[in-house]
């Protein structure tokens, strides 16, 4: 298990939900997908969700599935309505300039080492 904050340093991430205490979030892996139903069918709690989708429904999907953090790849940034909803639901939103392959690879390395 690794700390989200350590992962964020490794991927040069910015945090869009400063109102949440992201220091308590721990990860044991990630689910990588842009199809929402597949995420709901297969993602597990304690996994980050790496995606390029950034509309309002991703927050609902994370909330229903029990995902603590959404990682937006390639510098994608959610708008304010999405950030407000995520803050309300307690879902952390972070964004990294790196591509999905790199984001998943770094997390895999950190979790396995």
């Amino acid at each position: 298990m690794i700390k989200l904050t350590d992962y964020m340093k490794a991927i040069d991430a910015v945090n869009f939900t400063p109102a949440l205490d992201i220091g308590v979030i721990e990860l044991e892996g990630a689910y990588v997908c842009d199809m929402l139903s597949d995420v709901m069918g297969s993602a597990k709690p304690k996994q980050a969700w790496i995606t390029i989708m950034k509309h309002l429904n991703v927050v609902a999907v994370a909330s229903m599935t029990g995902i603590p953090v959404i990682v937006f790849a390639k510098g994608n940034q959610p708008d304010d309505t999405v950030i407000d909803k995520a803050t309300e639901e307690g879902i952390a939103l972070i964004s990294s300039p790196h591509e999905t392959f790199v984001l998943a690879g770094k997390l895999y390395q950190m979790v396995k080492s």
Binding site: L36, S37, M40, G41, P45, N57, S63, M64
Partner: protein
């Protein structure tokens, strides 16, 4: 109307009775689901989830209820002209019914096949339409009933027990 049931063998009578309980539910919640309104689809599931969380339902069971319910809500918004969600909460289970106003499912068996979808481009743009909605509902519920046919209203209802 064509009917589809997913009930564990040997449990048919007991579970079908649970779908038509005569005793009144402890709590009944109703939400309207407008056509193609993906920003609001999910509100019903979210309220049900929050209420059950306050009532102390186990987190893994809560996750199953939330996923099945959200998938069904999205289905009504994505595929029908609109409908409603009715949640009947008892002390031992939740029974959620999704009733829409058509246009119905022509072949329910085919709709249950993972990957099969009739979703339009708008629905797919939102990241839905993977053809996994109904299979996810089946996977996460203890019993599922679908009643529909082409040109008619659709009823999707499922039961999830709290223990």
């Amino acid at each position: 109307m064509a009917d589809y049931w997913n009930i564990a063998p040997g449990m048919e009578n007991a579970l079908k009775e649970c779908f038509s309980r005569e005793v009144e539910a402890d709590v009944t919640l109703e939400f309207v689901i407008p056509e193609k309104d993906f920003n609001n689809a999910g509100k019903g599931s979210s309220e049900v989830k929050n209420l059950l969380k306050r009532l102390g339902v186990d987190s893994e069971i809560l996750r199953r209820i939330a996923v099945a319910s959200y998938e069904a809500e999205i289905n009504v918004a994505a595929h029908s002209v609109g409908g409603k969600m009715t949640s009947l909460i008892y002390d031992d289970m939740i029974h959620i019914k999704f009733e829409d106003n058509g246009p119905g499912i022509a072949d329910i068996k085919q709709a249950m096949v993972p990957g099969y979808s009739t979703a339009d481009d708008l629905v797919r743009e939102f990241g839905f339409g993977a053809g996994l909605g109904l299979p996810n509902i089946e996977k996460n519920s203890d019993a599922l009933h679908i009643s529909s046919e082409a040109g008619q209203a659709t009823l999707v209802e499922f039961l999830i027990f709290f223990s």
